[in-house]
Amino acid sequence: MFLRILAALPFIGILLGVPFVNRVEPLVLGMPFVLAWIVLWVILISIIMAIVYRFDPTNRQTAVDTEEARS
C-alpha cells in the first residue's frame, strides 16, 4: 500500500502541481521554471520506481521462481 501511495505522488506533482508553477522565472538549469518542475518529477519518478522495485515483495518471489525454473 505504501508503495502505491509513493507511486501516486508524481501524478499529484505533475497534474495538480503545474497550475502553481506556471511561470518562466526563475530559470532553473537554464530552463523555464514550469519545464524544470516537470523535469524534476520525471527524475523523481525514476527514483521512486527504483525504491518500489527494491521493496516490492513480488520481485523477490519471482526471483526465486526464476531460479527454480532454471535449476
Binding site: 507511486a7 508524481p10 537554464g30 521512486i48 520506481m49
Partner: protein
C-alpha cells in the same frame, strides 16, 4: 545529387539490409513473426517500448510543436513517464495472461478475457483506426526529411512512396525482428544527434540555454508558459492524463509486451524508461532555438522547423546524417505499426469474424498480403492530409484510450464487467472521438456555458467519461444471474 541525399540513401539501404537479415536463423511462424517467439530480453523490450518515444513524432513533431506552440510541448515529457508508473503494475498481469493463452495480439487479449470474439473484432478495428493516422504521421515525417535534405530534388510525394516501399519490404520478410534490430541502430544514432543539436544550437545561436530562454521570453512574452486559454493548464492536465492512460493501449505497444521473456523486465524498465524520456528535452531545445532564427513557419509547416534550422546551420553532409537518422525514426516505428495493423486485420478481423477455423499459416499469409494494402491506404491519406504531426497523434491517442477501462477491469481477479458493457463502452467512446474529430468540435462549442478552464479540456476526455458511464451501466444491466451471490462491490485489484 547532393551529398545529403547520398547519405540518406545509404541509411535507408542499411535499414533495409538489417531488416532483411534479422530473419536469419528463425523459422518465421506466426508467433515468431508477430511477437518474436516471446524470447526478447530486457534490452530488446526496452528498445521496442522506447521506440514509441523516438519516432518522427518526437523528432519533427516535438521540435515543431515547441516552435509553433511553445509551452504546450512540455506535455510530451510528462505523459510517458506517468505511463511507466502504471506499467509497473499493469504489464506483468497482461504478459502472464498472454503467455498462458499464447496470445499474439491485443484484440486477442480482449476476446479471451471477455470470452467474446465480437469484442476482439471491435478492438481490432479501433486499433487499426488509430494506427493509420500514426502511420500517416511517420510517412509525413519521411516526406519532409527527404524533400528538405535533397534540397528539392526529390519531391516529398516521391519520398513518401519510396519510404512506404522500403517499410513494406522488410515487414513482409522479417516481421517484428526487423524492427527490433533497426531500433538498436536508430536509438543510438538519434540519441547522439538529438543531444548534439539540443546542446549545440542554443549555444551557437544564443550563447547558452539561459540566454536562449531569456531572449525568447523577452521577444514573445507568455510563449514559455501555458496560456490562459486554448492549450492552457487544463488542456495540459487532461491531455497528459488521457495520453498516459492510452500509452500502452496502442496495439503495437501492447503487442511489444508479448515479446518479453519474463515479467520482471517490465518492472525493471519502469525505472530506466523515465530517464530515457529526458532526451526529449533536447528536442524541445532545438524547436525553441528555431523560434527566432527561422520564423514564419505556419500551420502544418511547423514540423519543418528542425530541418530548416539545420539547413541554415550545417554543411550538407551533416544535414544528410541528421536526415538519415530521421529516416530511421520514421521507418522503424512505421514498420512496427504496419506489422501490427496487418496482423490485427488478418488474425482478429479475418479469423475472428469471417473464418473462425483459419490456420496459423493462412493467417500469416493473409497478414503479409495486407501489409502493402495498409501501406497504400496510409500513403493515400499522407498525400491528402494537412494536419500537423502532433494533431494526428493526439487523435490516435483519443481512440486507443477508449480501450483502457475494459482492459483494467479485466485484470481484476473477479471481473464484474460484462462483454456487452465493454463492447458498448468502447463503441460509445470511439463514436464521440470520431464525430468530434471529423467535425472539429471542441469542448467550448459543445458546452458553451462552461467556464474557460473546462472548455480547454481535451475532447478525448469527454469520450472516456462517456465510455466509462456506458461501460458501468450496461455491465450492471447485463450481469449474469449466477453471479448474484457474489459480493456486491467490484474487487479492487
Amino acid at each position: 545529387m547532393s551529398s545529403a541525399l547520398v547519405i540518406i540513401a545509404l541509411f535507408t539501404a542499411f535499414a533495409l539490409f538489417l531488416g532483411l537479415r534479422a530473419k536469419r536463423g528463425h523459422d518465421m511462424s506466426l508467433e515468431q513473426w508477430t511477437v518474436g517467439g516471446r524470447s526478447f530480453g530486457t534490452a530488446f523490450v526496452f528498445l521496442l517500448m522506447a521506440g514509441e518515444i523516438y519516432t518522427t513524432f518526437t523528432f519533427l513533431g516535438g521540435s515543431g510543436f515547441a516552435y509553433g506552440k511553445g509551452a504546450p510541448v512540455y506535455y510530451i515529457l510528462a505523459y510517458g513517464s506517468l505511463a511507466y508508473i502504471l506499467s509497473y503494475w499493469m504489464l506483468p498481469p497482461i504478459w502472464r495472461f498472454a503467455k498462458a493463452q499464447r496470445l499474439i495480439s491485443q484484440p486477442h487479449f480482449f476476446s479471451r478475457k471477455y470470452d467474446s470474439p465480437a469484442l476482439g473484432v471491435l478492438v481490432a478495428l479501433v486499433g487499426v483506426a488509430a494506427l493509420i493516422p500514426y502511420l500517416v504521421l511517420q510517412l509525413k515525417g519521411l516526406g519532409i526529411i527527404v524533400a528538405t535534405t535533397s534540397y528539392g530534388v526529390i519531391s516529398s510525394t516521391s519520398a513518401v512512396w519510396i519510404g512506404a516501399a522500403v517499410v513494406t519490404c522488410y515487414v513482409i520478410v522479417s516481421g517484428v525482428r526487423g524492427s527490433a534490430w533497426n531500433s538498436v541502430v536508430k536509438d543510438t544514432l538519434i540519441l547522439a544527434i538529438v543531444l548534439f543539436l539540443g546542446i549545440y544550437l542554443p549555444i551557437h545561436y544564443y550563447g547558452g540555454l539561459s540566454d536562449m530562454f531569456h531572449t525568447i521570453n523577452a521577444a514573445k512574452p507568455g510563449f514559455l508558459t501555458f496560456p490562459a486559454k486554448g492549450s492552457s493548464v487544463a488542456w495540459f492536465q487532461s491531455t497528459v492524463l488521457l495520453t498516459a492512460l492510452g500509452f500502452f493501449m496502442w496495439p503495437h505497444t501492447f503487442g511489444s509486451v508479448f515479446t518479453a521473456k519474463d515479467e520482471r523486465i517490465f518492472r525493471r524498465n519502469a525505472i530506466v524508461l523515465p530517464l530515457y524520456q529526458l532526451i526529449l528535452l533536447f528536442v524541445f531545445f532545438v524547436g525553441f532555438a528555431a523560434v527566432l532564427k527561422v520564423p514564419g513557419l505556419k500551420g502544418g509547416d511547423i514540423d519543418l522547423s528542425l530541418f530548416r534550422l539545420s539547413l541554415q546551420t550545417f554543411d550538407p553532409w551533416f544535414v544528410g546524417v541528421i536526415g538519415g537518422a530521421g529516416v530511421l525514426t520514421a521507418l522503424v516505428p512505421g514498420s512496427m505499426i504496419l506489422n501490427t495493423a496487418s496482423t490485427l486485420l488478418a488474425n482478429d478481423v479475418y479469423r475472428g469474424m469471417l473464418k473462425r477455423d483459419a490456420t496459423d499459416d493462412s493467417v500469416k499469409k493473409l497478414a503479409r498480403i495486407l501489409v502493402p494494402v495498409v501501406a497504400l491506404v496510409a500513403v493515400t491519406f499522407t498525400l491528402r492530409g494537412g494536419e500537423t504531426i502532433v494533431a494526428l497523434l493526439l487523435m490516435g491517442y483519443s481512440f486507443v484510450t477508449q480501450l483502457f477501462p475494459a482492459m483494467v477491469c479485466s485484470l481484476a481477479p473477479h471481473n464484474r464487467a460484462t462483454k456487452q458493457g465493454a463492447f458498448c463502452g468502447i463503441l460509445a467512446g470511439v463514436a464521440v472521438v470520431a464525430v468530434t474529430t471529423l467535425m472539429h468540435i471542441s469542448m467550448g462549442q459543445l458546452f458553451p456555458f462552461l467556464p474557460d478552464a473546462a472548455k480547454d479540456v481535451n475532447i478525448g476526455f469527454v469520450a472516456l467519461a462517456l465510455n466509462i458511464i456506458v461501460f458501468v451501466l450496461v455491465s450492471a444491466v447485463t450481469q449474469p444471474r449466477a453471479s448474484g451471490q457474489q459480493p456486491a462491490h467490484t474487487q479492487a485489484h
